[in-house]
Amino acid sequence: MTDDAEKTIAAGDVYSEKTSYVGQPGAEPTQMAVGIECPVCHTSNPPAETYCMDCGFLLTSQPEEQGVELEMRPPAVLVTTDGTREFALHVGQNTVGRQDADVLLTHNTVSRKHAVITVEDSKVYVEDIGSTNGTYVGGSKLNPGQKVELTDGAEIVFGNQTLILKLTTPSEEPSTKEETVTAQEAPVECVEIAPEPETQEAEAVAKLISEDGTVSHTLTRRTYSIGRREGNDIVIPDPYCSGRHAELRIEEDRMEIVDLNSTNGTLVNGVRIEPNNPYEIRIGDQLTFGQTVLKLEAPQ
């Protein structure tokens, strides 16, 4: 029901002020003092608001008094790389898939029943259950039925959807370091995913070079992250390039590029590709990230 048009629009504008209300809005010292404080989340609202701008509580009412046991924090959450979505995990089995799953990823690279994430004894495991496009942890593909323990901050890729695990640290034990140490000693039935040994001589499959030759990367069979931010496998110091811009996958018989919903897009031979969709590329193709043009060439 559209109520008073002016009011609605005003609320919309407040909504679209994205960054102001992350975290604890009540604690923001810069907020206006005059207004209605929400009895639930303590956000200060302009006098004209009907609903709290942050939690949506009806400001003319009072919350029920009886002590509702409020949400225990979930033991772990999965967040998207851009931080816009959060999936709370519960203790036990959490299904991951495109349909009727706990972690619902409605993208066509994700299988209907893709994987299962198990939370038990404050440990988190992932298992691929026969998905079409596979599940990757730290860049390595899981074999179906292989159960892998995940550590805090682990990057898990389902199809082409990347999620990051964030463990909730139990507040009563602040010694998180100790926990990480024990977590590394994987149980016998679990396979430790080790980072790729750098010493091993991997076969060069292609080369990615800039027109002026200042950027040059030799590519082997693996997945490369591309972006402006340090920490990417291929760093492009171009302000028009997004922090996490694209992913380059070099496989046995196929090379593909996935634009990670970058601001200015990824172009293959001058044509902008669809975000979040793997696009096959070949030797000789020209890839554009922001204003930077890189060419995919045969190794030597």
Binding site: T2, V40, P63, E64, E71, F87, Y240, V271, G290
Partner: protein, 448 residues
């Protein structure tokens, strides 16, 4: 246009620069307009209504809630229609030889007859390459335009990509404000020359859509790629037609043009703004773009008297009992009667309670029914994909279709049930039915 010329100088090195300041400026002015119009209280073409599956939710634990969103286009004619900026993008590949070509020319002649002097028309034909038959201009000398059309001759291959690009450039040459912009893309085959890649063609359409260009895809005969044409129409908010016989071409062109002339809302987007402790799990049969506490999807253009529905599934976190607005749903669109970008919105308000018996009694049967239809739509999509990839047998397909049809009849969706019947007949005759099925829209309804 070279994108590089549009780049603005970098400011904050930690932020990605947006490459298209012009486009942004248009957006901003659109918002400003929306505000102004709202205050003036002028009559807008669309209204939005949200119906939650249940007006209660449990305060003590995480719960899931479906919300039915109804976008309703006003049924009354608002006097004169908006002028059209129309481009005919025509396939003149070798396979069009004979009666298809003749009927296509006749169809274009009808289009010219239906247009008025303040409409703008451009015509592009493609074969090995795309050529401009008539640049964008007002429809003044109809006889001359028809002579241009009649001079069309069949060529060889199908360069769809270049055809789309040239057509879009003609539409873009006319200022979009004050016009209903539409490309009518007619083809009878798979792309066989130029850029033939599915994703490149669809991305191009998506990019043109962001410039306000809507494509209607008209597929003729057994050879064209229905997945491609359906994707072009769906991703740009236009219509898709499957024309089985050449003599039907003029009739379908006429039907589509009438539909375009009744367009009251273009560039329609739905934005779900979430309150704290709320996540959007999914928007049925759509791929949302997620932002900070928001999810946005593109909807098809609406014509007069049309109702479109969407179903949003929310996940609601526990909280102290009470009444909350869990989400606000905005529909942002270009209004053909006010000539401006407008926003209409509706709040989703839920009562959080500790009393489980209230929830059991609070279910809304209308949302349950629409949910069934949305699931049928998803099953239909899966059936079509199964048929295309030959993963399911004709018998299995028939069973699935009959199930879907029964459900549609039960829900009063008789038109769509008839379309399914047509597909069932086609399969029974041993013919391919994918081209019919892929065009069935279960979330759009024309109310007479």
């Amino acid at each position: 246009m070279d994108d590089k010329t549009h780049f603005i100088p970098p400011t904050d090195p930690n932020k990605t620069q947006i490459g298209r300041p012009d486009f942004d400026a248009t957006q901003i002015s659109g918002w400003a307009d929306a505000n102004r119009t709202a205050m003036a209280g002028s009559i807008r073409s669309l209204a939005v209504e949200c119906v939650p599956e249940n007006s209660y939710a449990l305060a003590t634990q995480v719960s899931r809630l479906h919300v039915l969103v109804k976008i309703i286009a006003s049924g009354s004619a608002t006097g004169t229609r908006m002028p059209l900026n129309l481009c005919l993008i025509l396939d003149r590949s070798g396979s069009m030889e004979g009666s298809p070509m003749e009927y296509m020319k006749q169809a274009c002649g009808y289009v010219v007859d239906m247009l008025q002097p303040n409409d703008v028309l451009s015509i592009v034909a493609f074969s090995d390459e795309a050529e401009l038959i008539m640049p964008a201009r007002r429809v003044v000398n109809k006889q001359l335009i028809k002579e241009h059309i009649n001079r069309l001759e069949v060529g060889n291959t199908t360069n769809l990509y270049d055809g789309i690009a040239l057509g879009a450039s003609q539409l873009a040459s006319v200022a979009s404000l004050g016009y209903v912009t539409r490309a009518l893309l007619f083809t009878d085959g798979e792309p066989t020359s130029g850029n033939k890649d599915f994703n490149s063609i669809v991305s191009q359409v998506v990019e043109q859509k962001s410039r306000g260009i809507t494509f209607t895809a008209l597929g003729f005969g057994p050879e064209y790629n229905e997945e491609l044409l359906a994707a072009i129409a769906k991703r740009s908010g236009g219509n898709y037609y499957y024309i089985t016989r050449p003599e039907l071409i003029p009739e379908i062109f006429r039907k589509e043009l009438e539909s375009v002339m009744m367009t009251v809302a273009r560039n329609v987007r739905m934005r779900v703004l979430m309150s704290r402790w709320v996540q959007v799990r999914q928007i049925y049969n759509k791929l949302p773009a997620f932002g900070h506490r928001s999810a946005e999807v593109t909807l098809a253009d609406l014509e007069r008297g049309e109702i479109q529905t969407a179903i949003v599934e929310l996940e609601l976190g526990p909280r102290p009992g009470g009444t909350y607005r869990v989400a606000k749903i905005e529909i942002i669109y270009d209004d053909s009667s006010t000539g401006k970008t407008e926003t209409v919105s509706s709040d989703v308000v839920i009562n959080f309670t500790t009393d489980a018996s209230r929830i059991a009694s609070g279910f809304n049967p209308e949302v349950q029914r629409e949910l069934e239809v949305a699931r049928a739509s998803r099953n239909l999509e899966r059936t079509v994909m199964g048929m295309r990839t030959q993963m399911i047998s004709p018998d299995e397909a028939l069973r699935e279709l009959e199930k879907t049809q029964a459900l549609l009849i039960q829900q009063g969706k008789t038109l769509q049930a008839q379309d399914i019947q047509r597909a069932i007949d086609q399969i029974k005759q041993g013919a391919a039915a994918e081209k019919t099925l892929i065009g069935i829209n279960l979330d759009r309804e024309k109310v007479q």
